[in-house]
């Protein structure tokens, strides 16, 4: 819930805040966004399983983004599509995390229902 609200606020700010990223950076930005999304999902999962640590989250959030963008840049220079690795890893982790979040939410809803009964 909180993530959706945050995303909406961010998108609105981004639309009204008229800044264009130079086209050179666009592919790297995409990879960085993927890394950030992965961190957010990881944080949500940690929140649900109650082992969230702010330092881990923040370092992962920025560190992953920078590393992913940097690797994509390096890959471009070396003519190796390293960004594919980032896309696969982060994409896979996003789905993993989402699966865990989904399970826990369902679990919680189920137990809540049982309590109500």
């Amino acid at each position: 819930m909180i993530a959706v609200i945050g995303l909406l606020i961010g998108v609105v700010i981004g639309i009204f805040w008229n800044i264009n990223i130079p086209d050179k950076f666009s592919p790297y930005m995409s990879v960085a966004i993927l890394a950030c999304l992965d961190s957010v999902f990881g944080a949500l999962r940690a929140l649900l399983s109650k082992n969230f640590r702010a330092d881990v989250f923040i370092s992962g959030f920025f560190g992953n983004a920078v590393l992913a963008a940097g690797l994509a840049y390096l890959g471009d220079k070396l003519n190796v599509p390293v960004y594919l690795a980032a896309v696969i890893v982060f994409g896979g982790r996003i789905f993993d995390n989402f699966a865990i979040i989904r399970r826990q939410m369902l679990e919680r809803a189920k137990s809540h229902n049982e309590v109500v009964k």
Binding site: I2, A3, V4, I5, G6, L7, L8, I9, G10, V11, V12, I13, G14, I15, W17, N18, I19, N20, I21, D23, S26, M29, S30, A32, I33, C36, L37, S39, V40, A43, L44, A46, L47, F52, A54, F57, I58, F61
Partner: protein, 243 residues
């Protein structure tokens, strides 16, 4: 408490992600990638080259004009230099519009039709195609200009921008002067280019040859073309006033 803190962090992180995503979206809207087929790519490439050529031409022109301007400026006090260069330019312009006699390398085309032969059968169904008409001359003038001829005359009549080639019964009127076959068309320009162009297969001269009209084309180092004999003064023209 810890839960709230975590929520706050996630909120901030989500805002950042949202901003990044929307920035990228904005960006994608202004920069549309278009996939081109090979032909489209080639067309675009040719167009690019053409535009580049135009730019460099314009740049060249700019340099020439700029140097002229700076020459005028630097020799502004020396009236005679300015005057002589202006006179020079005037002479050039006069030559080009046909007020002066000109000479140079070029080609001479001679056209003869059957009307100056002694026998000529008026019952011939192809008679019309065996005679040179005004539009034939118009085609040839067009072709010569397309090939880069700088001055053209027909039987001594200079072809200027005010020239009309008109049918006048058995004769053809050029600049209002009636002329008859044979027609001698003089053109000044690069003689090799002119010859090759005029004698190429798709050109009008080939078509005229196929109509049994006698066509000869010779190159000459020194083609002389007279000035236009008619008055080219202006009575109605005036420059558009800049606002």
């Amino acid at each position: 408490m810890k839960n709230n803190e975590a929520s706050l962090f996630i909120l901030i992180a989500c805002i950042i992600v949202g901003i990044l995503i929307s920035l990228n979206f904005n960006f994608n809207r202004t920069y549309n990638r278009v996939f081109l087929s090979t032909k489209q790519y080639q067309d675009a490439y040719e167009e690019k080259n053409k535009i580049k050529g135009e730019i460099s031409d314009l740049h060249q022109q700019y340099l020439v004009l700029n140097s002229k301007l700076s020459k005028y400026k630097s020799t502004g006090k020396n009236q005679t230099t300015v005057l002589s260069s202006l006179e020079n330019e005037l002479d050039q312009n006069k030559m080009q519009i046909g007020e002066d006699d000109v000479e140079g390398e070029g080609i001479i085309i001679t056209l003869k039709d059957i009307s100056n032969e002694s026998y000529y059968n008026t019952d011939d169904p192809d008679l019309l195609s065996k005679i040179i008409h005004n539009y034939d001359l118009n085609y040839i003038i067009n072709d010569l200009r397309n090939a880069g001829a700088e001055a053209i005359s027909i039987n001594g009549q200079r072809v200027t921008d005010r020239t009309a080639v008109y049918c006048d019964g058995a004769l053809i009127a050029v600049n209002g002067v009636k002329i008859a076959t044979p027609f001698y068309i003089d053109a000044i320009g690069n003689k090799d280019v002119l010859k090759n162009y005029m004698l190429s297969d798709e050109n009008y001269l080939k078509f005229m040859m196929s109509r049994t009209i006698s066509v000869t084309l010779e190159q000459s180092e020194d083609v002389k073309i007279q000035a236009a004999s008619f008055d080219i003064s202006k009575n109605f023209l005036s420059a558009v006033k800049a606002k």
